[in-house]
């Protein structure tokens, strides 16, 4: 262990280090206990949680693509009440911060979720605005600045927990959304969620996924994610959690240099279940080798 300070302060949300795991890719944390020293993780963003339990989509739910994968899980989850009663107590035995990723079809869904989670002892809420707004014709909340801001404001009213708003990359101007959710009171912005994609089975002549379309993640999307972090870092003042294709420490450092204060690991956990610990060690090595005393010092260094 070096003397490098790995601590991260995300607008009041304190993490032991910048390494977190992305929602939907790390379960509730415990699923990885055989591979990872969970106590060493900065935070775990748990699976997208909804008001009521959800069965999710039919299978196949995933498809492999070049250096990436598509998923259409359909937010299968046991619902917020079950989470609070049965899962949260389990995760509390570990040192990592539990951040609950919340999803809704209406602004009211998000507000109710926030109020239920408010005093539960979770570390923060991550608002997933990639969900379709059923009241507005299914257009994702995250594609319109005003709609995105509406969700954040509604959640803000229900809780004093640190709020992380997770942006969808399927937009023309990511900075417009980022500015809107900053104004609406988010404490942190995380980005990016998956790119909407599709794969067709040429023998069956139909989409591979039962849901037809799915979210593209993995190394393939990293350049888009780095670009968006770089743009958003210059547009807002709130801290950022960067993600999208991070597979090793070099990738993680790339996001820090682009302006992310912390990073999140998604698909790479599937490829190598031990990757989060390797990335944590690798970030530290990079800092030591290059003579830095803290993670902070390299955040946004590539922005000129």
């Amino acid at each position: 262990m070096s003397n490098v300070n790995l601590k991260v302060d995300l607008n009041g949300l304190q993490l032991a280090n910048p390494v977190t795991t992305a929602s939907g890719t790390f379960g509730f944390g415990e699923e990885y206990k055989d591979y990872v020293d969970l106590n060493k993780l900065g935070a775990v963003m748990v699976k997208g949680t909804t008001l009521n339990p959800k069965q999710g989509n039919a299978t196949p739910r995933i498809a492999e693509t070049s250096s990436g994968m598509l998923n259409a899980i359909g937010l299968q989850n046991p619902g917020v009440d079950y989470f609070l009663k049965n899962i949260l107590p389990e995760t509390k035995q570990y040192d990592f911060k539990t951040i609950v990723n919340i999803s809704g079809n209406t602004v009211e869904d998000y507000a109710k979720l926030a109020s239920k989670l408010d005093e539960s002892g979770v570390a923060a809420l991550e608002i997933n605005i990639s969900c379709p707004n059923v009241k507005k014709g299914g257009l994702a909340f995250g594609t319109q600045p005003a709609m995105a801001a509406g969700v954040v404001e509604a959640v803000r009213q229900e809780t004093d927990l640190p709020l992380i708003t997770k942006l969808s990359p399927n937009v023309a101007d990511i900075t417009a959304i980022a500015e809107a959710v900053e104004d609406a009171g988010t404490d942190v912005i995380s980005l990016i969620n998956t790119l909407l994609g599709m794969k067709i089975d040429i023998q069956q002549q139909e989409p591979v996924l039962a849901n037809k379309m799915g979210g593209l993640s993995g190394p393939a999307i990293k350049p888009v994610a780095v670009r968006m972090v770089y743009q958003v870092a210059q547009a807002v003042d709130v801290p950022l959690i960067g993600m999208g294709g991070i597979s090793n420490a070099e990738d993680a450092v790339e996001f820090l240099l682009a302006g992310a204060d912390a990073i999140s690991i998604g698909t790479a956990n599937f490829v190598n279940p031990e990757v989060s610990m390797e990335i944590l060690a690798g970030i530290e090595d990079y800092l030591v080798e290059n003579g830095y005393d803290s993670v902070e010092e390299i955040v946004g260094k590539a922005i000129k």
Binding site: G27, P60, I62, N71, S247, N272, P273
Partner: protein, 264 residues
């Protein structure tokens, strides 16, 4: 407890066109693994990210004595193609042992094992264990043609009532392996692994004859740890809808035969 490690390949050979047997040196895993469980594999080259995901492959045999894991697989796409290029001495990156294994109900004596296509491979270890437990075993194996009846010679050496079925008639009965179910009597318990339609037919037969059993399922997998929810299958439960999605990678791949809902 499952682990992730990088292991040595002891041998790899093509056992019939497009089908490979790989032997992996992994004493700790062999000591712990159970029949019916599986490995989540990746070629160990660290320099590229395509293909990206691991590939799940069941144990064909667990050789505790030599500390070796034996898998048998068919080349389907890019991942299994890459696996097939590995040679003795190369490294392989694995997670395992994963999932639930087959269990043998002590009180039953007369067992049936039905395997089709690649589904034959994961059953060999089970059959050997049934014999060790002193059970009567009937084995039905089906495939397109004789050479695809994997492990046939090994099955023939075992003290089981073995019948085969091939679509081209090159071994045993010509037609579906499930056609052979009609002739069976006195079976108390059934295991099956293979194409969904085959397992669905076995399930129907088992229900008609009030026979319990276990099935080994396949679904596309991401994590292998129970985290990603990609590998779910429909399992009957006593809720309103009558079923729920359960994870093939952790709750399965072995499920009670009568609880599985085979769609289509």
């Amino acid at each position: 407890m499952p682990e992730r490690s990088i292991r040595n390949i002891v041998s790899q050979k093509e056992i019939c066109p497009g089908h490979y047997q790989m032997v992996i040196d992994a004493p700790e895993i062999a000591a712990e693994a159970e029949m019916g469980q599986f490995l989540h594999l990746k070629w160990a080259a660290e320099t590229n990210s395509d293909p990206l995901l691991r590939r799940p492959i069941s144990f064909n045999e667990i050789d505790r004595e030599h500390g070796q894991l034996i898998i048998v697989y068919r080349v389907i796409g890019r991942g299994t193609k890459l696996l097939s290029t590995l040679e003795a001495g190369d490294k392989i990156d694995l997670m395992g042992p994963l999932g639930t294994g087959f269990s043998i109900p002590e009180e039953k004596n007369n067992f049936l094992v039905v395997g089709g296509g690649m589904g034959i491979a994961p059953l060999l270890d089970l059959v050997e264990n049934l014999l060790v437990a002193d059970k009567e075993v009937t084995v039905l194996l089906g495939a397109e043609k004789k050479e695809q009846l994997l492990n046939l010679e090994q099955y023939q050496e075992l003290n089981v009532n073995l019948k085969t079925a091939t679509m081209d008639g090159s071994s045993g009965y010509q037609g579906f392996v499930t056609d052979l179910l009609a002739d069976l009597t006195a079976i108390e318990y059934v295991y099956t692994c293979g194409p969904e339609v085959m397992m669905a037919t076995v399930q129907e037969w088992a229900q008609e004859n009030e026979i319990a059993g276990q099935a080994s399922l396949e679904e596309r997998m991401g994590c292998g740890t129970g985290a990603c929810l990609s590998c779910v299958c429909k399992i009957k439960v006593e809720t309103e809808s009558g079923w729920e999605y359960q994870k093939t990678c952790t709750t399965g791949p072995i499920f009670a035969l009568n609880e599985v809902i085979f769609d289509e």
